[in-house]
């Protein structure tokens, strides 16, 4: 029961963070203060569900994972992998967003790459969460 609750909180926070990541991806061509700030906020917002996912992972590994179909289990491992990549890309993108013109162009690529990884991870998460 507790695991299920945290799993849902983790998923909802990740969804909010992914929406937030899109803001600097779209607005970074313009050099605006709030674009830079939202890049930082997006990285922090993504860090919360990532940390939460790491926190509930042992319970998942002990109680949920053994009962999953091997195909679903493999899907979840891919989701972890993508979440780690998304965190690295978005974190680096948030730093790059604070730089000059070239750095902001780089930041868009990093943030978008991170968003893509996070989006696929989210889809896999939904798939695993809807397990039979």
């Amino acid at each position: 029961m507790t695991y299920g609750l945290w799993e849902r909180i983790h998923g909802h926070l990740a969804l909010i963070a992914l929406i937030l990541v899109l803001h600097p991806v779209v607005t970074l061509p313009a050099d605006r203060v709030w674009t830079r700030r939202t890049a930082i906020l997006a990285a922090l917002a993504l860090g919360v569900p990532f940390a939460l996912g790491g926190w509930i992972y042992p319970e998942y590994g002990a109680e949920v994972k053994p009962g999953l179909h091997p195909f679903l289990r493999a899907g979840f491992e891919v989701k972890e992998h993508l979440a780690a990549l998304a965190m690295a890309a978005v974190g680096s993108g948030a730093v790059a967003a604070q730089g000059g013109d070239d750095a902001r162009k780089l930041a868009r690529h990093l943030l978008f790459a991170g968003w893509c990884c996070g989006f696929i991870a989210g889809l896999l998460g939904l798939w695993v969460a809807g397990r039979p």
């Binding site: 053994p66 990549l85 690295a88 070239d102 990093l110």
Partner: protein
């Protein structure tokens, strides 16, 4: 934020992604995942920690040693050159 700091963060991210993907590939190659990942959570944490360590070392090297950090900042193509193969490796290393 200077180009040197941005280049250091960029290098850290690229190395983190590459390190994580390689570790997953090695785990698959050694057939560690099949047994270990099914029964424990240690591998995920270790992978992240080791990839973060590699990324940190890369950031230090670039931050203190790069002669032209702005060249790395302009190399935006490297994002996709590293991230896309890392995503693609997921389909293989199962």
């Amino acid at each position: 934020m200077t180009d040197r700091s941005v280049a250091a963060a960029y290098a850290a991210a690229l190395v983190f992604v590459a390190s994580y993907a390689v570790q997953r590939g090695v785990g698959w190659w050694l057939a560690v995942d099949a047994g270990v990942m099914a029964s424990t959570h240690t591998a995920f944490y270790w992978r992240c920690a080791l990839a973060a360590l590699h990324g940190g070392i890369a950031a230090l090297l670039v931050g203190f040693g790069a002669r032209d950090p702005s060249a790395l900042v302009r190399a935006r193509w490297a994002v996709w050159a590293v991230v896309l193969p890392a995503i693609g490796s997921l389909a293989v290393f199962q």
